[in-house]
């Protein structure tokens, strides 16, 4: 499998603090790769760097050989690298359907003015968006809630809606921000299912997560960060036995590590 996404020597400094320090790894096509690490390890900074929400101090992120870091979020999205957020980040006052329809922006062929004046391209776009949104909602098990106002959705579904919004952009790589955080056993199981189904759709998944057991279960490969540095990379089996990883997680209760 070729490398789809390359993280090369990525570093981010905030004042004197080095949040991400010279991190390099690659993500292969249709892989599920997880980034884990204790609190404050720099996971979410790394995540924002890859999705171009932050500008790296040095180093870069390449997608299909082209630099996508240090641009702007909408540029990275246009290239095909799209992130999700933790659960409250949705278009709160829109219906579930409108959330997903709105998110089809990158698939538009009509211009802003075209949409304003209702050109032929705009009309065919709108039709296509509606159909695609319905397909995505069905895919994620949200079809029954399509006309609900998004802020009224129960917690578990909010995260699915977040993924639905990302899917609407037709991404090649999807970045999931702690997709299992705060979930109970059943919810986690369903979320894992969704992540696998994303891969079946041909999407490469990069996720940042705290919950080790879920990550062990689903990932092809895992990258471990500690104090901004990458301390290990490998398959779940390799990571489980890596002494550096065990050391980094020492002091954390065994249960939450899931070793």
């Amino acid at each position: 499998m070729p490398d789809l996404l390359e993280v090369v020597g990525l570093t981010k400094r905030f004042g004197g603090l080095v949040a991400v320090n010279n991190v390099s790894f690659t993500v292969r096509d249709r892989e599920i790769l997880s980034v884990i690490g204790p609190n404050g390890a720099g996971k979410s900074t790394l995540f924002k760097l890859i999705s171009s929400f932050l500008r790296p101090t040095s180093g870069e992120v390449r997608f299909k050989g082209e630099r996508i870091s240090g641009l702007a979020p909408h540029v990275a999205a246009r290239r095909g690298v799209v992130r999700t957020f933790q659960e409250t980040t949705i278009f709160k006052n829109m219906t579930v359907l409108d959330n997903v329809v709105t998110a089809h922006h990158l698939r538009s062929r009509a211009s802003l003015a075209g949409f304003y004046f209702g050109s032929a391209a705009a009309r065919s776009d709108l039709e296509a968006f509606g159909a695609s949104a319905d397909e995505i909602l069905a895919f994620l098990g949200l079809a029954a809630m399509r006309d609900e106002i998004a802020s009224n959705l129960p917690h578990g579904h909010l995260r699915a809606l977040g993924i639905a919004i990302a899917l609407a952009t037709d991404p090649a790589v999807i970045l999931l921000d702690e997709p299992f955080a705060g979930m109970n056993y059943d919810e986690t199981r369903r979320a894992l299912q969704i992540v696998r189904k994303l891969r079946e759709r041909g999407i490469t998944v990069l996720l940042v997560e705290h919950d080790m057991s879920a990550v062990m279960n689903i990932s092809d490969r895992i990258v471990v960060l500690n104090f901004g540095q990458m301390i290990a990379e490998g398959t779940p089996a390799q990571i489980r036995q890596n002494p550096k990883v065990i050391e980094a997680y020492l002091g954390v209760e065994d249960e939450s590590i899931g070793l």
């Binding site: 999705s51 929400f53 702007a72 979020p73 909408h74 999205a77 246009r78 799209v82 992130r83 999700t84 957020f85 980040t89 949705i90 278009f91 709160k92 006052n93 829109m94 409108d98 329809v101 709105t102 998110a103 922006h105 990158l106 538009s108 802003l112 003015a113 949409f115 304003y116 004046f117 209702g118 705009a122 776009d125 709108l126 106002i149 919004i165 990302a166 609407a168 952009t169």
Partner: protein
């Protein structure tokens, strides 16, 4: 199809409303002899256009208290072009709007990055900047302003008079009223289109969550500037019309208090409704006028009513009539 039926009803209702404004109102005014109402209603129409601009900035999630600056700018642009360059007023009207739109792009690029109260405060300051600039620049003639601007000239095409010369009219007030109503109709039509098109949906995505909007590929900086430019265009056109009617413009023609009022108009009508700014302007302006008889208690009663309204209907007057149609 039910939706097309609803659309038909809406079109007919709007046409009737416009017809009433253009025909029934003038007839009523002539019958009662209250010709002073022309000026009042013209002002309401123009102020609602300026307020509609503010509404657009609310639509992308920004609190705009700087609309007075663009109204002032539009007024000056038109006044200067008419008096110093002898241009026809009808040409200066769109030019004033475009000038304001262009200026707002330059101003908007840095300040639209600000959010919440920061944007609100900066725009408030902007109104003050506009006033000070008008006082300081040589072209605006300082505190004495630009006065005795000629009334709009006529427009004729191949000898056919499309718009008569206002100076020759027996009742230019009626003419101004009709122009203002037509402009208002045009303005709210374009606003309605915005709110009910995908372009509007994208604006709403900005209002609800800019990070998420940019993550789905929306160029938020670009969209914000476009919306702000449109908003300022309305401000400029409204300001230019005002200068033409008053035949004068001063640095104090639009002040911070006016900017605040434009914002109040939108709030009072309801931010979630296209017609909010129109209704809000009408109620505030007429309310203020009616209270004129109360003399020194005018401001006291006015502000008390405002506060009570705010407590009773925090989501605007229209939230009473249209419980929760399309929440914006």
């Amino acid at each position: 199809m039910r939706t097309s039926q609803a659309t038909t009803v809406r079109i007919i209702a709007s046409a009737l409303f416009l017809l009433a404004l253009l025909v029934a109102v003038p007839l009523l005014i002539e019958a009662t002899g209250r010709t002073d109402l022309y000026y009042t209603l013209t002002s309401v129409a123009l102020l609602s256009i300026i307020s509609a601009g503010v509404w657009i900035t609310f639509y992308i999630g920004r609190i705009n208290i700087g609309q007075g600056a663009y109204a002032l700018m539009g007024g000056y642009v038109s006044a200067i072009l008419v008096t110093s360059y002898g241009m026809s007023f009808w040409l200066t009207l769109p030019l004033a709007g475009l000038f304001c739109a262009a200026a707002s792009v330059l101003i908007g690029l840095p300040i639209l990055r600000l959010r919440g109260v920061y944007f609100a405060m900066v725009t408030l300051v902007l109104t003050e900047v506009a006033r000070l600039l008008a006082l300081a620049l040589p072209v605006t003639n300082g505190a004495s302003g630009i006065v005795s601007i000629p009334l709009p000239s006529g427009i004729s095409f191949f000898g056919v008079t499309l718009v008569p010369d206002f100076a020759t009219l027996a009742n230019p007030r009626l003419a101004f009223y009709i122009v203002a109503v037509l402009l208002m109709a045009l303005c709210f039509l374009s606003l309605y289109r915005l709110a009910h098109s995908r372009t509007g949906q994208l604006c709403q995505s900005l209002q609800q969550n800019e990070e998420l909007a940019s993550s789905i590929g929306v160029n938020i900086a670009y969209l914000r500037v476009i919306a702000y430019a449109l908003s300022s265009f309305f401000g400029g056109v409204g300001g230019a019309m005002f200068a033409a009617i008053a035949q004068s413009i001063y640095p104090s023609s639009f002040t911070v208090a006016d900017s605040v009022n434009f914002m109040l108009n939108c709030f009072l009508g309801g931010l979630g409704y296209v017609l909010g700014p129109m209704l809000g302007t009408f109620v505030l302006y007429f309310g203020w006028d009616l209270l004129f008889q109360t003399g020194e208690f005018q401001l006291l009663i006015f502000s008390t009513v405002l506060i009570v309204l705010m407590l009773a209907l925090p989501n605007g007057l229209l939230s009473l009539a249209i419980p929760r149609k399309r929440s914006v």
